[in-house]
């Protein structure tokens, strides 16, 4: 760590991980409610637990992205952060607002929450992922503006690297698209159309820029490969992401009102969307093969390879599985969607945040070459337990989804099973998903445990790697 102010990333990472734990606990509550329908009812109905689960996910990923930005932008720009104080203030504002919102979900009836936060004045609540009271949404926008100001002032006074430019472009896009969360017309078809400007254009648009930039940064650091090569890859990846992903939004316009040409546009362009994710796999493995050093932080390298592979599987393969209109006609809004949502979010965004944490946390804790070997072994156990559990969660949900389509969607009206009857038929898969979820939680516990092991890696563990000519 070259600049003292990079250290403000630490509270962001720690708070992100605490929220991650909360997200998983509520995931298990949901998983159990799927099979024991009245579990915790009426204290915590399913919709409440689900809001907590998904909103915690989004908020902790945002904390992770901000932490990553505070850590890497000053180092790339070769200057101190413009205002560490502002970063601290915004940390507390966001943490308190986020916590209050989650507590509001849990302890106040949603209609009452809408009432006391004066949703009537500017109705934005009650839409999937955008359940936050309007006042919280405004708070998020304000935090984003302050954050971007701080980052831009830092980047502008220092060295301008491609990693910084791409990361900041992604963050500006993230903040700009957030404004669509305030647009909630009374015409449902319009509401839905622009809802996707936040949801799809985040995860299959600007967030890919953020992911690509963080991955590129970590690869530069742990492989020592020439930045020119890495930056070229980064540009190609994000070019493919936007070229495919923007019109690819059309894969959500099939059945919510827009005209038929979206069936073609959405299918064709979103079918190309796996490409940038595949290139990230090639990118990560290529750079690691060509590495000019063997960084002693092996765990960070594992996360970097893992995120590329899992993002490709979750977003690329599982996304492609149901993205063509004739397939999506049957799978739309089924457990297949849930299967894909889980592996894609985990592989791409959870794992990229855990990658930068794995790289940066030891350094901020005064262990420049990484954690001790024991801690790294434990961390890698956490990696494998969580990742394999997520693979099983995805497989079980896919099984449930295929059966659901088979029983409920494919037969004619009259022959098809009802939704609720279908759910009873596939409950075995939900039980297995719940078990896999418990393994996920145990993996998370192991991962957390690795933070409490003392000691650090030493530079002598670094052996020179295979230097290549054309780097």
């Amino acid at each position: 760590m070259r600049y003292e102010s990079q250290r403000v990333a630490m509270p962001y990472f720690i708070f992100a991980l605490i929220l991650f734990a909360g997200q998983i606990v509520f995931g298990l509550v949901l998983g159990l409610q799927y099979v024991v329908g009245d579990f915790l009812f009426p204290e915590i109905p399913f919709n409440v637990a689900r809001m907590v689960h998904t909103n915690l996910l989004i908020v902790w990923l945002l904390f992770g992205f901000m932490g990553a930005t505070y850590y890497l932008v000053p180092e790339e720009a070769q200057t101190e952060l413009y205002s560490p104080l502002l970063a601290w203030i915004l940390f507390w504002v966001f943490a308190v607002a986020g916590t209050l919102t989650i507590l509001g979900y849990l302890f106040v009836d949603y209609a009452t929450l809408a009432d006391v936060t004066m949703n009537k004045l500017l109705p934005t609540m009650g839409r999937e992922f955008l359940e936050q009271p309007t006042i919280t949404k405004i708070g998020i926008a304000i935090v984003a503006v302050g954050f971007l100001f701080n980052i831009l002032m830092t980047a502008l006074k220092g060295r301008k690297t491609v990693v910084n430019i791409v990361l900041i472009t992604g963050l500006v896009g993230l903040a700009a698209l957030w404004l669509f969360s305030f647009y909630n017309p009374s015409n449902l078809t319009l509401d839905k159309y622009f809802w996707w400007f936040v949801v799809h254009l985040w995860v299959e648009g600007v967030w890919e820029l953020i992911m690509g930039a963080i991955l590129a940064y970590v690869l530069i650091k742990i492989t020592g490969v020439d930045r020119e090569v890495i930056e070229k890859w980064l540009y190609v990846i994000i070019a493919m992401a936007l070229i495919s992903g923007i019109i690819g939004t059309g894969h959500h316009f099939f059945w919510i009102g827009p005209p038929e040409y979206w069936l073609w546009l959405g299918s064709v362009f979103s079918a190309i969307e796996p490409l940038p994710f595949f290139m990230m796999v090639l990118f990560a493995f290529n750079m690691i093969n060509r590495r000019r050093r063997n960084h002693p932080n092996k765990a960070a390298m594992l996360w970097a390879m893992g995120t590329a592979v899992m993002a490709f599987l979750g977003a690329g393969v599982w996304g492609f599985l149901h993205t063509l209109a004739p397939v999506n006609y049957y799978t739309h809004g089924s457990q297949i969607t849930a299967a894909h949502g889980h592996m894609a979010f985990y592989g791409a965004y959870v794992m990229i945040v855990l990658t930068i944490i794995s790289y940066a946390m030891p350094i901020m804790r005064g262990r420049p070459y990484g954690n001790s070997n024991t801690a790294q072994v434990l961390e890698m156990w956490g990696f494998w337990l969580m990742t394999i559990s997520m693979v099983f969660i995805t497989l079980f949900l896919t099984g449930a989804g295929i059966l659901q389509v088979w029983l409920q969607r494919i037969p004619e009206s009259g022959q098809a099973l009802s939704f609720m009857a279908t759910q009873d038929h596939i409950s075995l898969f939900y039980w297995m998903r719940f078990v896999a979820g418990c393994f996920f939680l145990s993996g998370l516990a192991v991962y957390f445990g690795s933070f409490f092991i003392k000691g650090q890696a030493s530079p002598s563990e670094e052996v020179r790697g295979p230097a290549t000519e054309d780097a």
Binding site: D38, G126, L188, L190, V236, F253, W255, G257
Partner: protein
């Protein structure tokens, strides 16, 4: 990647490609919203009641359990076609179904998935019914495949 393919070429593809597709997307959005949608979403039939019904839908977070046109949560049945499923396409039948249903919740059947009691007024339930009826009539390329949603 080959040496001939330089970083600045990659950057130009990124800048040119994304600018082009952003503009194309905006043009398509304009066409969709200004030309196509008015004919497909029956916007002339969005009454005061439909608007209020949408607010009731939102302020009780129905989307947290149900899908609506296939979007939302997958815990409870699709509701964009519930008007056809439970009202047989008849407004009066559907309204009385909705009234009975909302007031009968929760079922309290042990182990069964439970829908909360939202304590809605008769007026709110009627608004909701109007909203769901309007929703069922949007031209959505014939989704869902059958009545079960």
């Amino acid at each position: 990647m080959a040496e001939r393919f330089t970083k600045s070429m990659a950057r130009n593809i990124y800048l040119g490609g994304s600018a082009f597709f952003v503009l194309l997307f905006l043009a398509l959005t304009f066409d969709t919203q200004s030309r196509a949608m008015p004919e497909r979403d029956n916007r002339d039939q969005i009454t005061e009641q439909v608007v209020r019904g949408k607010h009731v839908w939102e302020e009780n977070n129905c989307i947290g359990c149900h899908t609506l046109m296939g979007e939302g949560a997958y815990f409870a049945p699709e509701l964009a076609n519930v008007f056809d499923r439970r009202g047989a396409g008849d407004s009066a039948v559907f309204k009385s179904f909705m009234n009975a249903w909302m007031n009968a919740m929760p079922t309290n059947v042990p182990g069964r998935r439970q829908m909360p009691q939202f304590n809605l007024t008769d007026q709110e339930i009627e608004d909701l019914a109007e909203f769901l009826e309007w929703t069922s009539k949007i031209d959505d390329n014939n989704w869902p495949p059958n009545i079960e949603g």
